[in-house]
Symmetry: C2
Subunit: 217 residues, 2 copies
């Protein structure tokens, strides 16, 4: 059985969610953050970079969110939660799955950092960064306004991968989605999924971590 | 034929390199950066985020480096340059391929940013970031000191994906690899590959963009 080493209030909750969506059993080990917010030493003992998530599957010890998701999907997913090569929507699935970490996370981290340091409105570099982040939000919004899920008609691992900045991460940064009804609709559809609800409870959340966006709907 | 929209001196050169390694034809369109270093408007016309690389394959317009690499590998790679699910080394391949963007690039960008602002040596936050970057370099170094390539005995797309911070990107930031002979050896093996040499010439480089690390060997 796959062991998930889960850092509480972190992106490792995506792995729990993936397992719940696939209906696969897992052995969940949850750890709180250090007072510094860093991951506890167990993560450094498991993997050289000391980051969450980490899974163990027999002799395999694997870190890196999309690597873990790809590993689980390809070995245990039986084609579910992804669009296979050649099928309609393959390019969309591949794009949104990889965009989660390659494009979205760096921008969301930048946004969170800027919100923390309260970069002045008149700072041209901060203004340019805000404008770029709006390009991202507008792109996602347009996509899930026209399609039920990011890859199209079917819920996939791309939705799991892209959710984090709008859920748990957005609890720590001002992220106003009032201009993005498409994204709020998508978050609502995700919040209604039983596997998501089970996963968030297992990950340590008392309620949907994106609920604050939906309350304003 | 796949069209590669290539921004000069950028990570889009990885797509050219992938095509050269696979021996696939491509229609290369190269564009210089704007005076602000931004990508020119053609990229915003091609894709909502205005970033390079972007490819066109018939009706498909696709951005995001790893998405493009995955798309090409799965549709046109015939199993080459990757380790398929279930084969020995699969987890290693999946890790290093995704680590390139998920783990390495953000740290390398942070390192480049810190080098630019010349964060004071005594700044504890900057010191912690430098220490974390050393964890990354040590991990990569240990891997390619023991194995010829990141995924093991066979050169894969993981090597292509992880090269950029040590090649073109490292020309713009102080990156001292004197303590990392494993990485320098790996860069030397890459530099000797004819497909890499053809790709770097096509991408606009007069010589191997990692050569400055090798000169100090």
């Amino acid at each position: 059985m796959i062991v998930i080493h889960h850092l509480l209030v972190s992106q490792s909750e995506r792995i729990i969610w993936l397992m719940e969506e696939l209906g696969l059993p897992y052995d969940l080990r949850s750890y709180p953050r250090e007072p510094t917010m860093a991951a506890p030493p167990i993560f450094r003992a498991l993997h050289p970079l000391g980051q969450a998530p980490v899974i163990e599957d027999g002799d395999v010890v694997l870190a890196e969110t999309l690597a873990i998701m790809t590993y689980i999907l390809e070995l245990y997913g039986h084609g579910r939660l992804r669009v296979v090569a050649g099928a309609s929507g393959f390019a969309d699935y591949v794009y949104w799955f990889h965009y989660s970490i390659g494009g979205l996370m760096p921008r969301a981290m930048q946004h969170m950092g800027a919100a923390r340091t309260q970069a002045a409105d008149e700072d041209p570099r901060a203004a340019a960064q805000r404008e770029r982040f709006r390009w991202h939000l507008a792109m996602i919004d347009a996509r899930v306004a026209r399609h039920e899920w990011l890859a199209g008609d079917v819920f996939t691992a791309a939705d799991i991968a892209c959710h984090f900045p709008f859920g748990t991460m957005s609890q720590f940064a001002t992220l106003d989605l009032s201009d993005y009804p498409g994204i709020r609709g998508w978050l609502g559809r995700i919040g209604a999924r039983p596997a998501f609800q089970r996963a968030m409870r297992a990950a340590g959340h008392a309620r949907d971590p994106a609920a604050h966006h939906l309350d304003t709907q």
